[in-house]
Symmetry: C2
Subunit: 192 residues, 2 copies
């Protein structure tokens, strides 16, 4: 009765040659977009990357979409980054009961599941690249989300920044389509 | 860059002395309520149990809330049951692209995250015991959910049954409170 989540080995290699501190939201977004792009190139999953960063801009944990290779529908990039950050920090509340600020950076706005996971995670900021409508346009299903989801997070003390390097993030979504990546959706099948 | 999710050992013992087929929704709900109650008694997590069952009523995988012991906020009972069912079936779409029906049975209605995870999982039915307002009444935060969440699942071809052995499920929530269980919530701290 156990399950091991394993991120692709190339992530450690990519991070080893990356800076240790990512000063600006754009720097942090650039990293997670690179993760998303590499995930497509290496054919290890969908075109989504995420990372949890501390208040000094240091990466706590990175994630990419590993649904297909892990046979596990919950392993979206954000979920992997959150779970690994909690493992690295040794607590299920990343903020440590509000003592520290941590930022979740996602190459695309969260789906319904990842949106719901964010308040539980303890991150205090969310930074997004591509919009959910960008994901929907190429056939990804973001699931049944609250229309006012950014406000719902703000009400819980989680700041939301949108459209950070949006076009670069959209480019990765389109790169995935061009390379013939599988578009699966929440009805279980492939998109029409 | 890996994470191992381990369900408590007592689950295998409990299942070993349980029937192999759970004929009715009530039979299946009785099992997940027992899992929820045992999780409290054994002090291995919150008062929530879940299971994925096939169309013949056979249990594919069970889950309980193991957030605190795993230091992982995403490990609600439903998420554990879904992830283990997908591992056992060897596919991220439990329904195998709509070929088979599978039921997720949850002792309490899903929080915002688990709700969002259900369409991705491939289950085609959701059966719930306690209502989300029952969980809220004892201080658990269900997160920002769509008000019409059952309809949103139905629109995606997922049938929803509510109030199955609701009182027995509520009893476990109250048992948890009486035993002094931690009520954590989505703002990261303890409930007021």
């Amino acid at each position: 009765m156990h399950l091991t989540i394993k991120a692709p080995d190339w992530i450690a290699e990519l991070l080893a040659r990356s800076p240790k501190v990512f000063q600006t939201p754009e720097d942090r977004m650039r990293l997670v977009i690179e993760l998303a792009r590499e995930n497509v190139t290496r054919q290890t999953g969908g075109p989504f990357g995420a990372g949890v960063f501390d208040a000094d801009g240091r990466l706590v944990a990175a994630g990419v979409n590993i649904v297909a290779r892990s046979n596990c529908s919950i392993l979206h990039a954000e979920m992997v980054a959150i779970a690994l950050a909690q493992k690295n920090l040794g607590r299920y509340d990343i903020s440590d009961n509000g003592k520290s600020d941590y930022e979740l950076v996602a190459s695309t706005e969260p789906c319904a599941m990842c949106f719901g996971a964010i308040p539980w995670s303890g991150v205090t900021q969310l930074v997004c690249g591509a919009r959910d409508e960008d994901a929907r346009r190429i056939g990804f299903d973001e699931g049944p989300k609250l229309p006012n989801w950014p406000e719902a997070l703000e009400e819980r003390g989680i700041q939301v920044s949108r459209d950070v390097l949006r076009q670069e993030a959209v480019d990765v979504l389109e790169y995935y389509v061009k390379t013939g990546g599988t578009i699966y959706n929440a009805r279980g099948g492939q998109a029409e």
